[in-house]
């Protein structure tokens, strides 16, 4: 039996490590359980091949319907998905929080942009974001960025001319990537290895942010410790977490507060796997919505092949330039909100690599394409938003993992509106690439990215799983963290909002501790 602590956190990714640092810093004793392995900066080898070890390597997830790309989107080990994320960090648009109230679709957040604004500002100061608040399309109000925007290479300049020509305004891309040294971390050198993990820490990742901070303050991280369920007492309150350690021993970690920060899939899996006498349908599931409203944005990769060098190996994976179409703007052109990221640094191999641009080519034709595209390919990545749908959900499978815990099954389908929006974005991108003077322009097939929802927050306990802080409606000392809380994203990259929300909740927990630990 481990000694009881104040807080036990499941998951050592962006949200889990943030809560660990801030709660430990406020004098709470924190233990973090991470199913994956220990990781250090030395593990972040610059290689799309070796980087595969950073992606999900835990119990398989059964995917039914439209594939969600679970394993490539989620992380594994200290740092989680934030270790390989691209660090595109826009604030969510103001309308994103009120999409039902304004347009009669989807779900509203229980909070407004103004409730998060100061927290975006605070995270931005702490982490460091490069951008240009004046030049960024659809940026809501807030402090200017602490760092100048990313440099624009030939690929970005060329694509910008094309988007300008078709009337789509593109500007500085907000990125949690240091364009100058900041808070003891070095500046980016634009070698395009973001997805392999950034060992110099120019790209914000938990191994240079909150994991060392939390450890220095005394938090304990236990790796290769897979949570199998939340323990509850006779009143139905959480009293800790049951887990299987690296040696295969079943253990318990008791705590006054339990925080699940184990991803949009693993959080609902744990809730549903924690069914008991007081909650026969799963923990925090009186609404029947634990696992529901799971969302996946659709990536439209658009390619243009140019005769002159695009300098496409340089920069960052997030891209160089940015556009966001609000739901209101988009309705005139397309059924939904979306986001463009122009000119990512690309490498020859991997899903987002040069070879992936023309999956139909084989044989000598493939070598010919690789030689031309290695220098002449430009890429624009469009992200189609998706609306929450209670039928898109995480469930428990009838199969179990090695600990006997049921596996997660994700059931997902695309709404016709989402497919129409994706088609609109793909066509818009091809038009822009042609307007930019590409010799050839085309788009790829839809790819699943930006996973969110599954345990959404809301005011009504009958229609949501948590309140506006992520505290479950049913269990007052059980807090959920991460993008699973989002009722809607507007197609925007989720990580900055994940941190802003964590900042807000951590502050609230510290100020109102007795309400959480009661």
């Amino acid at each position: 039996m481990n000694e009881a602590v104040d807080v036990v956190i499941v998951g050592a990714g962006a949200a889990g490590s943030y809560f660990a640092a801030k709660l430990q810093g406020a004098g709470k004793q924190v233990v973090v359980l991470e199913a994956g392995p220990e990781r250090g900066l030395e593990d972040l080898v610059s290689s799309s091949i070796w980087a595969r070890r950073l992606k999900w390597g835990g119990p398989p997830v059964d995917s039914q319907g439209v594939p969600i790309g679970h394993n490539v989107n989620f992380g594994w080990g200290l740092g989680g998905a934030a270790l390989h994320h691209y660090a595109t960090w826009p604030r969510f648009a103001e309308e994103t929080f009120h999409i039902r109230e304004r347009y009669g679709v989807g779900l509203d957040w229980p909070i407004a942009y103004d409730d998060l604004r100061a927290h975006y500002d605070a995270i931005q100061r702490e982490v460091g974001i490069a951008g240009d608040a004046e030049d960024e399309p659809s940026r809501p109000p807030g402090e200017p960025y602490p760092l100048p925007p990313l440099p624009v290479f030939a690929q970005g300049e060329r694509l910008k001319a094309g988007f300008d020509a078709i009337g789509v305004d593109v500007g500085a891309l907000p990125a949690a990537i240091l364009t100058r040294a900041y808070n003891g971390r070095d500046a980016c050198i634009y070698d395009g290895w973001c997805e392999s993990g950034c060992p110099i820490g120019a790209l914000a990742n938990p191994l240079v942010l909150h994991i060392p901070e939390a450890k220095r303050l005394g938090a304990e991280f236990r790796t290769e410790c897979a949570a199998t369920g939340v323990l509850t007492d006779e009143t139905g309150q959480a009293r800790g977490v049951r887990y299987v350690d690296a040696a295969g021993e079943v253990r318990e970690q008791h705590a006054d507060v339990v925080i699940l920060a184990a991803s949009c899939v693993q959080n609902p899996r744990l809730l549903l796997a924690s069914a008991g006498a007081k909650h026969p349908d799963g923990l925090a599931n009186s609404s029947g919505l634990a696992g529901a409203n799971f969302m996946v944005d659709g990536l439209a990769a658009v390619y243009g092949l140019f005769d002159d060098p695009m300098e496409n190996v340089f920069g960052v994976n997030a891209g160089q330039l940015f556009h966001r179409a609000a739901y209101e703007d988009g309705r005139a052109r397309a059924p939904g909100a979306y986001q463009w990221q122009l000119a990512p640094a690309i490498k020859p191999n991997d899903l987002a690599g040069i070879a992936g641009a023309r999956p139909d080519l084989i044989g000598p034709d493939l070598h010919d394409f690789m030689r031309r595209a290695a220098h002449g390919l430009a890429v624009a990545a469009g992200f189609a938003s998706t609306l929450p749908d209670a039928q898109n959900r995480v469930e428990l499978s009838s199969e179990t993992d090695s600990t006997g815990t049921p596996l997660a099954r994700v059931v997902y389908r695309n709404a016709p509106e989402a497919e129409a929006l994706w088609a609109h974005i793909a066509a818009e991108g091809v038009a822009a690439a042609n307007a930019a003077g590409a010799r050839e322009a085309w788009h790829g097939r839809p790819a699943p990215v930006h996973i969110s929802g599954g345990t959404v927050m809301g005011d009504d306990p009958a229609r949501s799983v948590t309140d506006g802080y992520g505290r479950t409606h049913d269990v007052s000392n059980l807090v959920l963290a991460g993008a699973g809380l989002f009722p809607y994203t507007g197609g925007s990259s989720p990580t900055f909002t994940l941190y802003a929300l964590a900042h807000r909740t951590a502050e609230h927990m510290i100020e109102h501790w007795s309400e959480y630990a009661a």
Binding site: S46, W50, R53, G57, N71, V72, V313, L351, G353
Partner: protein, 181 residues
């Protein structure tokens, strides 16, 4: 070093590809393993032949770069440590079953051994796989098999420092991958 699972995994984890050769663990690049004809650990001789012939069809030079040795070494490792792109593609581990079924289907579709086909027939069959026009096809979906093996071939030919050199691209590593890749 004596061969046992712990040593083998340790070698795999430190950042080089590990091969079992004559009762010992050897770290080497896939191209070196191919040149030295290291034995397969998971795949059979027939599966290796089909894989190398198919690799050279969809990306000429892939066999010599050690496509079969790369895949075989990863099939022998823990799936959580796998370097294969298939781990991204919602195929449940262990991944050996996918490769074995795919290669068996390939040989069957070739009417015996894929490696025995002429170059033109090999390319034609690969193109029909991409179009989903091979019937009967008894294995994982043919277009998906082509997609996965094509990405594996791209990894060994173009995903390394030597591969970047072939495209005249600077590699610019923060932390270089192991030389004995």
């Amino acid at each position: 070093m004596r061969l046992n699972r712990r040593n083998f995994l340790k070698q795999s984890a430190v950042g080089a590809l590990a091969f079992k050769v004559g009762g010992a663990v050897v770290t080497a690049s896939p191209a070196h393993a191919y040149a030295e004809d290291f034995p397969m650990q998971v795949l059979s001789a027939e599966e290796r032949a089909a894989l190398e012939a198919f690799g050279d069809t969809i990306l000429p030079g892939a066999a010599q770069e050690g496509l079969a040795h790369f895949i075989d070494s990863q099939l022998a490792a823990e799936s959580a440590d796998s370097l294969l792109i298939i781990r991204y593609l919602d195929v449940p581990p262990p991944y050996a079953g996918f490769y074995k079924a795919a290669l068996a289907a390939l040989d069957a579709a070739a009417g015996g051994r894929f490696a025995d086909l002429s170059s033109a027939d090999r390319l034609a069959l690969a193109r029909r796989m991409g179009a989903g026009e091979v019937a009967p096809w008894r294995g994982p979906p043919a277009a998906f098999v082509l997609f996965v093996l094509r990405m594996d071939a791209i990894d060994v030919v173009y995903g390394t420092e030597a591969g970047f050199d072939r495209l005249d691209l600077p590699y610019m590593a923060h932390i270089a991958p192991p030389a004995r890749w």
